[in-house]
Symmetry: C3
Subunit: 382 residues, 3 copies
Amino acid sequence: MREELESLRIVDHHCHGVVQRELDREGYEGLLTEASEPGALGGTLFDSRLGLAVRRWCAPLLDLPPHAPPDEYVGRRAALDPAEVNRRFLAAAGLDALCVDTGYTPEPLLEPAELGVLAGAPAHEIVRLEDLAERTVAEGAGVAGFPDDVGSKIAARAATAVGAKSVAAYRAGLRLRGERPSPAEVWAAAARLYRQADLAMAGHGGAPRVADETMHRYLVWCAVDCGLPVQFHVGYGDSDVDLHHADPLHLTPLLRALERTGTPVMLLHNYPYHRNAGYLAQVFTNVFLDVSLATHNLGDRAPVLLAEALELAPFGKVLYASDAYGLAEHYYLGALLFRRTLERVLGEGVEEGSWTRSDALRIARLIGSGNARRAYGLDGTG
Amino acid sequence: MREELESLRIVDHHCHGVVQRELDREGYEGLLTEASEPGALGGTLFDSRLGLAVRRWCAPLLDLPPHAPPDEYVGRRAALDPAEVNRRFLAAAGLDALCVDTGYTPEPLLEPAELGVLAGAPAHEIVRLEDLAERTVAEGAGVAGFPDDVGSKIAARAATAVGAKSVAAYRAGLRLRGERPSPAEVWAAAARLYRQADLAMAGHGGAPRVADETMHRYLVWCAVDCGLPVQFHVGYGDSDVDLHHADPLHLTPLLRALERTGTPVMLLHNYPYHRNAGYLAQVFTNVFLDVSLATHNLGDRAPVLLAEALELAPFGKVLYASDAYGLAEHYYLGALLFRRTLERVLGEGVEEGSWTRSDALRIARLIGSGNARRAYGLDGTG
Amino acid sequence: MREELESLRIVDHHCHGVVQRELDREGYEGLLTEASEPGALGGTLFDSRLGLAVRRWCAPLLDLPPHAPPDEYVGRRAALDPAEVNRRFLAAAGLDALCVDTGYTPEPLLEPAELGVLAGAPAHEIVRLEDLAERTVAEGAGVAGFPDDVGSKIAARAATAVGAKSVAAYRAGLRLRGERPSPAEVWAAAARLYRQADLAMAGHGGAPRVADETMHRYLVWCAVDCGLPVQFHVGYGDSDVDLHHADPLHLTPLLRALERTGTPVMLLHNYPYHRNAGYLAQVFTNVFLDVSLATHNLGDRAPVLLAEALELAPFGKVLYASDAYGLAEHYYLGALLFRRTLERVLGEGVEEGSWTRSDALRIARLIGSGNARRAYGLDGTG
């Protein structure tokens, strides 16, 4: 299995840009996990599953021995040109295609095209719906035209983007109703958004911020109307998320409605609710899942995670993603750990007699790339 | 261990009838998992833990080699007399007794007595409470007499049935209050039910449908008053269930009240909340659990599931069930995977030195049949 | 690894007193697990992961062979002086320090100093906040001065205690708001508490009982103002807890606020929400966790538990605790299983190449004692 899997090029269906600047120890740790920073109380974030995986697997790509100490690792990384660091990790990820969420840029990040060049693979765009709505407000379009304006913007992006993403989980939570909101409901939600934006921009130099059940839902339906697959942030994220509002089960009423449209829905991350996501992927014909972000955070323990998600999820409904953000290591580690995970989970089944080697390889290709190609129509058939 | 476990006849304390008609590929996949159908987006449901387990374990009973491809499997199955297929799988399950839920029959299914003959074991009946209530309404008994009528019906069935089952999880959810409802509350709930039934039957050719916290609770207390053990659907089911309303922890207030009556309560299925169920089985003297439905859906990974449930659940509080429905394979696979699970979980403990071989065998007999015999009084002592 | 870990003295940062009386079989089983008693329906509580671990690991300390039958075990225990039983198990736990919660004493228990002598280690005190508040009411201090009185009491105890503990999970649940309550809110909560206490003490010989979101929160902020680390009961407990109100995720808003104060927060027990706790320990700089209580209840399966908690939790944020209560076996078993867990989890990583042996030993020392010493300032630096 190992040989076949090492040469399997995989589709990273959800990832972000990376920084191209020099990072000191604190800056590096600040991007490593979902903690905003290491703290004196808790010690270094290198003392974690993820930190130890970086030392084991990433150090050799920086010409260091495996398990190099953190200071040595960060020092060597800083001694290289940041572009060279990014090139090494992205090239080594063995990607077949990338689907890049371009809607979260608190600092300059590489663009999809740049990532694609480094990875040697086509980079597609995923439109972040709330970001588009907030830009629409900030650009000064009036509230009266907002529903149509944002719909048109999404439609325009749908010409090139391969999917849309909702971060409702971070804002109003995933308890979204199933019904398509009525025009009156959308206008009321738009009015609330403009009031919030007026206050925020006037008083505090703030910005428009979508965090409204109706508005999240409206944006999702706009994407559906444009024929875009819809990604949802689910579960694990940083301390801004209220994790119990990010359980994918809250989406059940909306999933029932979206199933009738045939729109592919991608549940991203999912940890620690990945078994719940597996259930949804079994009972709804249009629901897909990944275990991104958690995969690299769990380091060498990643196989446990996918094995749990695959308890109920049909193998045709599981995707690979890194959710890489900031550090190019995330691209490489995610892909490496995912291949090892497939090898472990599928290989153990072959050894135990649960399935044949040829079924195992076929399933690896589905999960690694076939499912994403089919669901997003990456071969032009979507 | 293997030899002893292979010859251990087990009590399947929760199962349903199976179909006795020919099935094509689509019809077969529609009954295989909790998905209502396979979908073009996600591929075949044979590409799942369960599908691969069917190919491995069930193919030989149809005279095919293990891992026979799906079309070959379904083709061979269709070539046999459906009664012969059912006979083979039910006879091979090695059952000591069956407790059959007769309240869900969207299409003709084998009756308990027929299942018992095929399995070579006595088949007892489990009364589905909501079904009985809905029949009472449909049979035209007036609302005034409804509380007594349904109570009498349950009492009449209690003469032969060994337990009652509530599907509150699928309807109003498991947040049931602990108190026995007052007569006034029951009358109000009955009035609501009759109003719904009138509308449904008049306007749309619909049927009465119990989905009301008070009414579910009333029915449970009727069963308790008749001395029937009460089963609750918990957790995993098809897309009609809102899984987060089916967490067994929602039953905590009612379990506190039922503990005082000494009524055995059986938490069925439980996945992915089986650890929560294990906790309840530890802290309440009358709570039992199983990991049915998930057992065959997890295929060869089933041991993980029972091991997690057994973290807190005392070994005297765990039961076996298949939750077989529609396909006779579910009876056979459930039983086979359960025996393998016991062998794995208990055998590893012997090897590791956690317990003795004689303790392991004693515990296997408890979980496989002794606990169910004691809790349901199957030996006439209940 | 084994040798180093067997000689590693560990800090038990959350435990209780034990009884020093003779126990018959029923009395022993009543203290063994979180069930209040064994029941005829479910059989003996010795038939559980915990019961089998007692027979395996504890029997030899009572001069019995491993796996001695329950009656033999309880009989031999009763034949020894209860003080001798306590001495044997506490001395064998290999503790470096104890932090004893003294606020739950439904029957006479050994005091911290007595436990410390038996364990051969310093015993510190943890103040149970609700207990202190209830005593303040019972001692007759009027409602007008209550907020200041209870604040002063906590401050006085802070001179010697090393931490405070909240049992909000057992009372109002963990949905505590993030804001420090206003004086008016505290007065209103105090008035509610005094009304409840008046009714309870007058009518039914009851006692004051804090079970009020505002009051729990006020007590936590009093502890924070005194510079005390704050422990929260989370998850697993007896049948008095509503487990779904004890999910650590409910604390998210309060954790955001406490992070700004730099106060260490210890999430106790956590099962079955230990992965959620691991997430919180990653994203909040001040959050620590343990897997106490569940560790000994899971017996030889304890490694699974810590491995899951360590998926996201940085190694600098994980503590050891037994949550021993009543039986001295809990002290010994907790410590033994924890050492075996560290050996298993960290040793497997060494074998697999995930980290070096020296990293593994360093991490074991952090989790076993260094983190608790740092977080509680046990070396006088806190």
